[in-house]
């Protein structure tokens, strides 16, 4: 059962890689593969919700010898939004004609890497799946193959390969210090290792994931890449691939290096605040939608970091809720900003409300969760930061809304009916979360209970 989503994606990806993805039926086949993997993951999620964590020892090795796939609620709540984002983004691109034959296969392989790393219980296996999704992302970044996209892909590869190497070194260090690669056993051992090696390893892991997330001092690659790539690819990178960062910070930070995370809380607060302020101010100064959205992503990451630094159940729940809604927001905004007409404008407005945290949209509850967590933690200056960040995001979102949809409303040929239906669908999902947020919170709470409480 655990292997089913992975098997669908793996074999689907292999078959698609051999076929010509520029043809419509093949593109839709890719959408079907991703959608069925999403359904299989959801079914697995139901099982996890009912029976608790599911474990599978790969290739029948004894427990502790081989690699374990271990699926808990935390993996599920990140896997489903990521797969949904990939499905919709691929569908969107197929409806506007795919330009490279490998595109659908790459989207599926990216899904494989992401699902694999959300499900694995082994640190090195995590790295392998991480590389599968990153390599697909490297090729996807150059999709379109104009000079601009090639430049964007070049920046993306150089910076992110550096991040991957840092992560690899951190895993080698963890193995040397604890003697294990299995995450549960590493988590049991880390409190016993010396302070200095632990801080070194934790810092390397933090930097590696911050590069993926595009956190403030490590953000420099992000605007060039998000503005250079095509909208569907930008949606995949910011909506699906960036989840590696939030998930990795939770899994490695909150679970394995919880002592180091607690010690670094002040630094995380500072970096998170800087990220929010820097991202918002830069976003206000920009003119093109893609640039504004890129800087807005840097700002949104700040909330994730603040939720992580608050820690405890409230903080982790806030992080998960915010990360899920943020992934959907980014999908909606990148896709709808590339369309014309009042329907796309309305969908974009929903996304803009969601980013700004205005009630009918789901983003309200994402911000609300971080807000409540910081009040519960008695950090009132954080409340001020969140309010200022929200106000600034309101300004930049409507600046581009005005520039994009008020000045020019004739439809262009790239705006297909199918693409419009997709963005409206995503907008409705975001509104649905905003109207009825109970299930998402319940699942996030379920996911956060597996993480240890922060030591006071």
């Amino acid at each position: 059962m655990i292997a089913l989503p992975l098997a669908i994606l793996w074999f689907g990806g292999l078959v698609l890689a051999l076929l010509d993805g520029t043809r419509k039926p093949i593109g839709y086949l890719g959408v079907v593969v991703l959608a069925s993997a999403t359904a299989a993951t959801a079914a697995l999620g139901v099982q996890v919700h009912r029976d608790g964590q599911q474990v599978m020892e790969v290739a029948g090795w004894d427990a502790g010898t081989g690699i374990a796939l271990r699926v808990d609620m935390l993996g599920i709540v990140f896997a489903i939004p990521s797969l949904v984002v990939l499905t919709i983004a691929l569908w969107f691109e197929v409806s506007r004609d795919v330009k490279a034959r490998i595109f659908p296969a790459l989207a599926v392989f990216m899904g494989l890497g992401l699902t694999g790393l959300f499900f694995t219980g082994d640190a090195f296996n995590f790295y392998v799946f991480f590389e599968i999704s990153m390599v697909s992302a490297y090729v996807l970044a150059s999709y379109g193959e104009t000079p601009r996209q090639l430049r964007a892909a070049m920046i993306f590869i150089v910076v992110n390969l550096l991040g991957s190497v840092l992560f690899l070194i951190a895993i080698a260090g963890t193995y040397h210090n604890t003697g294990w690669l299995d995450m549960e056993r590493i988590a049991a051992q880390t409190p016993l290792i010396d302070v200095n090696p632990a801080i070194m390893t934790a810092t390397l892991i933090f930097v590696a994931f911050s590069i993926k997330l595009g956190l403030f001092p490590f953000h420099f690659w992000l605007p060039a890449v998000y503005t250079g790539t095509r909208p569907a690819v930008a949606a995949m990178l910011s909506g699906a691939l960036a989840n590696i960062g939030s998930y990795g910070l939770l899994r490695f930070g909150a679970d394995i290096f919880s002592r180091e995370l607690h010690e670094a809380a002040t630094i995380l607060f500072i970096l998170g605040t800087l990220s929010i302020i820097y991202g918002s101010i830069q976003a206000i100064a920009r003119h093109t939608p893609a640039e504004v959205l890129a800087y807005s992503s840097i700002g949104q990451v700040g909330y994730i970091l603040i939720a992580l630094a608050i820690g405890g159940e409230a903080g982790y729940v806030a992080l998960i809720v915010f990360a899920v809604i943020n992934a959907l927001n980014k999908l909606l905004l990148f896709l709808s900003a590339s369309l014309r007409g009042w329907i796309a404008g309305a969908a974009f407005a929903v996304g803009a409300f969601s980013v700004a945290g205005v009630p009918p949209a789901g983003g309200f509850f994402g911000k609300m969760a971080v807000f409540q967590a910081s009040i519960g933690d008695q950090r009132y200056w954080l409340v001020a930061v969140i309010l200022i960040g929200g106000a600034l995001s309101f300004v930049y979102m409507f600046q581009i809304y005005g520039a994009r949809f008020w000045t020019n409303d004739e439809a262009d040929e790239a705006t297909t009916r199918e693409a419009l239906v997709l963005v409206v669908l995503v907008a409705l999902v975001i509104i649905a979360i905003g109207v009825y947020p109970g299930p998402l919170f319940e699942l996030s709470r379920d996911a956060a209970t597996n993480l240890p409480e922060r030591v006071p």
Partner: protein, 139 residues
């Protein structure tokens, strides 16, 4: 042995970092490949035991086989990404007639100035085909 390996890893990291800061993309890529290999050497040195070859039937102190398996995997992944990156460098060279980062950066700035010129809402960065064609014509 530990000292020797750490010196080797340190030198490789230093050279890699130096190369990655160069203007020439080929050197940047060489630096990245070297960095990956420095990491591989680091994984080898992270082994828990040192000794003979860990083969079935060998006796006595054997070295840690797990790190060797990890390094092998990392080498394969590094090999794949290196091939991909070199392919991309060729495409960048093909479209810019240069592998000099400064000149490629100039093309990016030209693009950015074209993004800023038109009235807001008229041409978006998301509709790039027109802009890119223009850039190509200029070249």
């Amino acid at each position: 042995m530990t000292l020797l390996v750490s010196i080797a890893v340190a030198v490789m990291f230093g050279v890699a970092a130096y190369l990655m800061l160069k203007r020439d993309l080929i050197r940047v890529i060489t630096g990245m490949i070297l960095l990956g290999n420095a990491a591989n050497l680091f994984i080898m040195s992270a082994g828990l035991r040192e000794g003979g070859a860990p083969l079935v039937g060998e006796e006595g102190d054997l070295s840690d086989p797990l790190v060797q398996a990890l390094t092998l995997t990392a080498i394969v992944i590094g090999f794949g990404t290196a091939a991909l990156v070199l392919g991309l460098v060729y495409r960048v060279y093909d479209s810019h007639q240069s592998v000099d980062i400064i000149r490629i950066g100039d093309a990016e700035e030209l693009q950015a100035s074209m993004d800023d010129q038109p009235l807001p809402g008229d041409v978006s960065a998301l509709d790039q085909s027109a802009i890119d064609n223009e850039a190509e014509v200029k070249r």
